[in-house]
């Protein structure tokens, strides 16, 4: 059998460290060799424990998880870091990836996922929990970029009436809105479409089949 995977846990909550230790206790191919309550301690203990993997919290005193990971990547490129954190925001995920983490899982992970992540990272792969990849992908994708998608339903409704050469007052009466509100919507719509006058608006609505929407 291969040598067990040696793990160092870094977290500023002793209780959490104890929990993880207990959880991984019965897994024979994983061995917890040490713990640290902040980044500075991690750096001090790396030489003594020479772990294969560091489970790294992000929010720690002294040296935070991002800085510590950067340091490890630079000085001990063979040691792999898995972020184990509560944070799931785009900003921190990207910062940790840039710092060189090989895994990213959230603290409410399951036992199975934790083990899966440790196995994958130890074999040289990168493991990002689904929540993390999905949230980044979702965040970077935007809705369609056609000009009509810039307009709200109300604005489209008002443009249609403007095109029928109704005045703002008439439109306000028709829709049960105040005249000021109608003028505001109208102004906003023209601005979004970068149109200067009603003629251009008429042309736009014909070009884009606005009357059929």
């Amino acid at each position: 059998m291969n040598a067990p995977i040696k793990i160092l846990i870094a977290d500023d909550h002793q209780m959490f460290i104890d929990g993880i230790k207990a959880l991984l206790n019965e897994i024979t191919h994983i061995q917890i060799v040490g713990q640290a309550i902040n980044g500075k301690e991690v750096i001090e203990k790396l030489n003594n424990y020479s772990p294969d993997i560091v489970l790294m919290d992000i929010g720690m005193a002294e040296l935070n998880g991002i800085e510590t990971t950067e340091w490890i990547t630079k000085n001990y490129p063979k040691i792999k870091v898995i972020a184990l954190t509560m944070y799931d925001d785009h900003n921190r995920i990207m910062k940790m990836l840039k710092a060189g983490v090989k895994g990213y899982i959230l603290k409410n992970t399951s036992k199975n996922e934790l083990i899966e992540a440790i196995n994958a990272v130890s074999s040289g792969e990168t493991y990002l929990t689904k929540q993390v990849t999905a949230s980044i992908i979702k965040e970077s994708s935007k809705p369609n970029h056609n000009p009509i998608s810039l307009l709200t339903k109300r604005e489209i409704q008002i443009i249609k009436l403007v095109v029928k050469s109704m005045t703002s007052k008439e439109i306000a009466d028709e829709l049960g809105l105040s005249e000021l509100t109608v003028t505001t919507h109208r102004k906003n719509a023209m601005q979004k479409l970068e149109l200067k006058n009603v003629a251009a608006l008429v042309k736009f609505s014909i070009d884009n089949n606005l009357s059929e929407l």
């Binding site: 509560m86 000021l180 601005q191």
Partner: protein, 674 residues
């Protein structure tokens, strides 16, 4: 011929040494979202039997389309035949969906042949058909994703990426897994080419996971290769090796050997870069053999090039030069200019190492010639693009002339309006003048009292403003502190609780496992809830990414609650605002949304963040029951007061309009300060 290289060119040479195209890629493979699973796809031949007796109806169109996607992988021309039939028949039946799908298949056929313009033509048609049936769902997304793939094929990565990103959400939401996975894979490649390796990796990992779910061995193999290439470029050679070997493992299961070549070549170049040349040569030779067997010339050229580099590295220049020459012959035959350029570059190096400076110089000259011609080609492409732009601008001008008539009419109307206005303003002026006179008299009368009153008022305002600042700051700090406490305290305890509970996993009696699982799930639910609360309290996103991202996040959190659907629109805000204005506008938006969720009873709302040269505007409209300005004093009153305080603090104006028919409109406008 200038013997001294231009300094910048020299630098560029250095760069190129690092980044020549050692990897083999299969972008074109993933150009398209094929396989519409309309019918349970059976044996193509039995489907053909079905076709013979089929009625001329929409079912036949669908059968034809299934045949296209099956044949597409084996026999392109037969697939073309079926797509054309499908298009004709659905045109006859006026079956728009069929037309769209047939167009996609036709585009697929032409793009595989590299005829992008023809492919684009069909896709434009498909877009038109989508507009005709007001299709905005997955089918439109599929068409758009295909167009994005064509842009990629044409090398227009920016446009391609934009289009991909704006469409993958629909694919994800409507559960179009194969198309979604392929789109993610292509996005990963685009990021890879633009050297955004971390982003590339995220997309590659996600697409790999999806391909694994779909049991799509081909794609699993290629996405492992892509991950290998990403790690290779990050100079993480051990990871690159792991991924290439996994890719190889998958590729060995496949009939099509081209994937084998990719993986073998990948392993080869990793060994080459770590200077383990003998290992590298073993794998590269295997890759070369596969390339020759399947007759893929570009693969053969790449493998020969990489092999040559290995021999050159292990000081066997004669063998290296032999291989480079061999590759050169093929590269010239297939017209691969980039390969020719690279081959001359490495040939120069090999000759140099051998001490044959005359030959080195000759290769260098060849290199420069090819390089210049590539440079010129790229330049002329740019010029072409510029002239195309000029043409379209000319067209825009023509349209403007056509518009002139309309505009003139508009002007006439404006003129008339102006005359009426002039008349009005004379009357108005007289009235205002009179009132003004009277006012001045009264003011003079009360002058002394007024001065005193103003002084008092100014003092009051100053005091009030100061109080407001203090309160707002205190509030802000308090919220951030609570968020931190929640995270550090409650959040961590929850995670710890879950971990401790999991210790009992094996010991829970069978009849209690449901309860045990429920408890675990409940902790997850609480964690998510807690994370939402934390995000609402802290203004971290706002601080780092500004108003737009912060509102996007807020709206998506609220939408996830399922009480009301809020659409967020933004326009014109392309820079960060002053910190105080940002944080107040954000809190105002939060307060507006909270009120809307709690009291409006509406189903939909629209939040808008708009900016122009003079002001920034936040608007929230809902379709709820509206509110009575008198009654809100007790219920939503605190919120409204809070909003008004913040608005006046940042010198803006707020307006609320509400009635039971049209819901509520809240409008906050902040003038821009220099």
């Amino acid at each position: 011929m200038d013997l001294f290289l231009h300094p910048s060119k020299d630098l560029w040479l250095q760069l190129m040494k690092k980044r020549y195209s050692k990897n083999i890629f299969f972008i074109t493979l993933f150009l398209f979202a094929g396989n519409f699973q309309l019918l349970k796809a059976g044996n193509p031949d039995s489907l053909k039997q079905v076709l013979k007796y089929a009625k001329e109806d929409t079912n036949k169109v669908n059968t034809l389309i299934v045949l296209c996607s099956q044949k597409g992988q084996i026999d392109g021309d037969e697939s073309l035949k079926y797509s054309k039939q499908a298009l004709d028949l659905s045109t006859k039946l006026n079956y728009q969906q069929g037309k769209i799908k047939a167009c996609i298949h036709l585009a697929q056929y032409y793009s595989a042949k590299g005829e992008y313009e023809q492919a684009l033509k069909f896709l434009t048609d498909a877009l038109k058909f989508c507009a005709e049936i007001k299709e905005k769902g997955p089918l439109l997304a599929k068409v758009n994703v295909c167009i994005a793939a064509i842009y990629s094929g044409k090398g227009d990565y920016n446009k391609s990426l934009k289009l991909y990103l704006s469409n993958i959400n629909i694919l994800d939401k409507t559960n179009q897994k194969p198309e979604f996975a392929k789109a993610l894979y292509n996005i990963s490649i685009i990021y890879y080419y633009s050297h955004k390796l971390d982003e590339s990796k995220i997309y590659a990992l996600r697409s790999k996971a999806l391909f694994e779910e779909l049991k799509d061995t081909v794609s699993i193999s290629t996405s492992f290769s892509l991950l290998g290439a990403i790690c290779y470029d990050k100079e993480d050679y051990s990871a690159a090796l792991v991924y290439y070997k996994k890719s190889l493992e998958q590729a060995e299961k496949l009939k099509d050997k081209s994937y084998l070549a990719v993986a073998l070549n990948g392993i080869g170049i990793v060994y080459a870069d770590t200077k383990e040349y003998s290992e590298a040569i073993v794998y590269l030779k295997k890759a070369l053999a596969v390339g020759e067997e399947i007759g893929e010339q570009q693969t053969v050229v790449t493998c020969l090039l990489n092999l040559g580099i290995c021999y050159s590295g292990s000081n066997n220049q004669t063998e290296a030069i032999k291989l480079f020459n061999q590759a050169l012959t093929i590269a010239k035959k297939i017209g691969s200019k980039h390969s020719i350029k690279e081959l001359y570059y490495f040939m120069t190096e090999a000759h140099e190492k051998q001490g044959n400076f005359k030959a080195a110089l000759a290769s260098l000259q060849q290199f420069t010639i090819v390089n210049d011609s590539i440079y010129n080609e790229e330049n002329s492409q740019q010029i072409n693009e510029l002239s195309a732009k000029y043409e379209s601008e000319k067209k825009a001008k023509e349209i403007a002339i056509l518009n002139k008539e309309l505009i003139t009419k508009e002007k006439d109307r404006e003129l008339l309006n102006a005359q009426v206005q002039q008349k009005n303003s004379i009357v108005f002026g007289t009235i205002v003048g009179t009132i003004f006179l009277v006012l001045i008299l009264i003011l003079l009368f009360n002058r002394k009292r007024l001065i005193q009153y103003n002084k008092y008022q100014a003092n009051m305002n100053l005091q009030r403003e100061k109080n407001a600042v203090d309160i707002l700051h205190a509030q802000e700090n308090e919220q951030v502190r609570i968020a931190k406490d929640l995270h550090d305290g409650v959040g961590t305890y929850l995670s710890t609780l879950k971990i401790n509970l999991q210790l009992y996993e094996g010991f829970v009696p069978k009849e209690k496992t449901d309860g045990y699982q429920n408890a675990l799930n409940l902790i997850d639910v609480i964690s998510i809830e807690l994370r939402n609360i934390m995000k609402n309290l802290s203004n971290e996103t706002l601080h780092e990414h500004g108003l737009i991202t912060a509102f996007e996040e807020l709206v998506s959190r609220v939408n996830n609650l399922g009480v009301i659907q809020i659409d967020f629109y933004t326009h014109g805000l392309n820079k960060r605002l002053n910190e105080v204005i940002e944080s107040n506008l954000y809190r105002i938006g939060q307060e507006l949304i909270t009120n809307c969720v709690k009291y409006s009873k509406g189903s939909h709302a629209t939040l808008q963040l708009l900016a122009d040269d003079t002001s920034t505007t936040l608007m929230l409209e809902d379709n709820g029951v509206g509110f009575d300005a008198e009654k809100v004093k007790d219920t939503a009153g605190m919120g409204i007061k809070n909003i008004n305080d913040r608005v006046s603090f940042i010198k803006g104006t707020a307006r609320f309009e509400s009635n039971s028919l049209n819901g509520t409109l809240c409008f906050v406008e902040i003038p821009n300060f220099k």
